[in-house]
Amino acid sequence: MKKTLRFTLMPLIVAASAGALAQDAYVIGVSAAMTGPAAGSYAPAVEAMKAYLDSVNSRGGINGKPVRLIVLDDSAEPSKAAANAKRLLAQDKVVLLMNSSLSSTYAPVVAEAKRAGVPLYFAGAVCPKDTYPPADPMQFCSTAFGANLDSQAALAFVKDNAREPVRLGLAAMAIPIARAEIEYAEGLSKTLGMTPVDKEISPPPAPDYTPFATKLKEAGPNWVYSWSPWVSQIRTFEALRRLGWGGRYITWAHLNAEEELGRVKDGELYVIGTNAFFRDEPPMAAEIRAVAHRANLNYPVTFLTEGFIAGLVVETALKNTPWPATPAKVLAAMNRLKVDLKGLRGGPLEWTRDNHFRTKQYYRVWRWDPAKQQVTRVQDWRVIEVKR
């Protein structure tokens, strides 16, 4: 609680001194859903990134200058996000603006960033289409999941591992991005020779997912694919199991997926993702554990990968930004960025002038192994080239 309270009050303290100190540091502003119903998906990434950048500062900063991160809570509300962006740009004079919140906050933040000529970086939040090639000149994204690419990878895994003709059930939450993705997957499945048998779109949040799962089960799928916020993915799966459905389920590996596989302990629940699990012992795992311990973060370390990736991206971008930093110099650095992610993903994250998402997306698949009683990897990095 003390930690959360400190984090909540921190922006006020930082804001008071930011004006005086701005010229001595790389100042970065973040508008994030630190509270509210969506906070569970964003707050761990932001806190992890902050912890990593604090550790960078403790080692002397970047190019001899500290990084000052100003985090403002928008509770996933567009009006608050707009106010945050205005303050960060006009008052705090940030050289890089970040958004880690629901997509409904994007429009006002994008508009403010464009007006101020400051690059906008999405971390831990869904990547807008504008970051895919051909990219908007001002918008960048490092978040793990990627529309269409994720479904391509997931359905390729299903195809490779199907023991019989695939009768595919699809499930998503009733939010625009998840619905669009699941509709894309429905079309894609047909081209891969699968038969989509049902598509269930559930509202956020439902008090009971059984009615949705009942309809899905009655359609007789032997595989179900879901791409949505974790709450919708896992509760649909658990409801299906309680109804006695015995098929296989593949879904996106959100921040908490590694913990959740260990909780659910179902051998036919597969999660596909682009961030390494701690079970895989990526080279940076020890550093993440140490930094999280020092920062006294309240989350399991398995929740922190996305935030550390964001921290590595910011660190690399600023290293390539000559002092004194300006938004234009940061933008130039981000337009030709290659970040060594130290095993947290299958390869480096690379941005070009035309591609502000990444040039390659790497996917792994995990499940709970009932025999070994542990989370195991069932597919190593599969590469998908990100093209126009």
Binding site: P37, G40, S202, D208, Y209, T210, E238, R242, N256
Partner: protein, 289 residues
């Protein structure tokens, strides 16, 4: 058969939440818009007591339920009592403020992560067959708990002295006070019982799925059930929950799952047009613009 089971479980959820709205409204004519937050607080209380009583799930549940009861009484004693004599709108606004305060406090105390009280209790939610349908253990518990709560409240309100006092205070507070009924104690008890049932609903919903910040919205989704049945009628809340639950499950199954979100409010709108005081509610003088 499965549809019938689904309707019963969903209606149980709505009925258990809705009876809390009704208890407070029928006694004090205050609409408690912090009910969803109090429900979530009950679920967090279970998560907290689960770690305080490791290996003793029943003790943890009992402690959490008692905490919920006490919190309800305290909310009345520390906040709502001061609204006595003020316009009802002021009291309703106070509940909105309370809800915002509770939401913030819960994020500070437990963070934004999803929690699993059932796992913390060391229990699992197995399912079993009823004919050709299946129901989860917690689903069955929800149904049983709702039935027990309604039967208990019926017996309490009808046969106990405090229940009669509560009904009297709801019908005519001035007369009740003149007859020596301590209104503040009655109201505090109503708030306590309302928060107890809300907390119970929160614990069971969190055990069936999980506990996160979205639970507040589920609290609001039960509101149409209370209004459809009549805000001052417990029997009405039960029937309203059944109507709303059935409409929701059947629309998911036969029309479009997306309707699940709007159907309860469509039923509510229809009821407000036809019978604004609800199926079993008392017809009161309505303020008109």
């Amino acid at each position: 058969m499965q549809l019938a089971v689904n309707i019963l479980v969903l209606a149980s959820i709505y009925a258990l939440i809705a009876c809390g709205y009704v208890l407070v409204y029928r006694v004090s004519r205050v609409l408690n818009l912090a009910h969803g937050e109090l429900m979530m607080l009950g679920a967090y209380a279970l998560f907290a007591t689960a770690s305080s009583f490791p290996g003793h799930p029943f003790a943890a549940v009992a402690a959490a339920a008692l905490l919920a009861l006490a919190v309800g009484g305290l909310v009345y004693w520390l906040l709502m009592r001061r609204m006595t004599g003020e316009a009802v709108l002021a009291a309703v606004l106070a509940t909105i403020g309370l809800g915002i305060l509770l939401r913030g406090a819960m994020v500070l105390a437990w963070g934004p992560q999803e929690r699993h009280p059932l796992q913390a209790l060391g229990m699992s939610n197995a399912s079993f067959a009823i004919g050709d349908a299946r129901i989860s253990s917690v689903g069955l518990l929800l149904f049983t708990a709702t039935a027990s709560v309604y039967l208990g409240l019926y017996a309490f309100l009808r046969y106990t002295a405090w229940g009669v006092r509560m009904r009297a205070a709801g019908q005519n507070p001035l007369l009740a006070a003149q007859r020596g009924i301590r209104l503040h104690a009655v109201y505090a008890l109503a708030w306590g019982l309302s928060t107890f049932t809300a907390g119970l609903a929160g614990m069971l919903i969190a055990s069936e799925s999980a506990l996160d910040q979205t639970m507040v919205v589920i609290g609001l989704k039960a509101f149409p059930a209370a209004l459809v049945g009549g805000l001052d009628s417990l029997a009405g809340a039960l029937v309203g929950a059944l109507i709303v639950g059935a409409a929701e499950v059947l629309s998911i199954h036969y029309i479009d799952p997306l309707l699940a979100e709007v159907v309860p409010f469509l039923v509510l709108l229809a009821m407000l047009i036809v019978r604004p005081w609800g199926l079993f509610g008392a017809r009161e003088e309505l303020d008109r613009v």
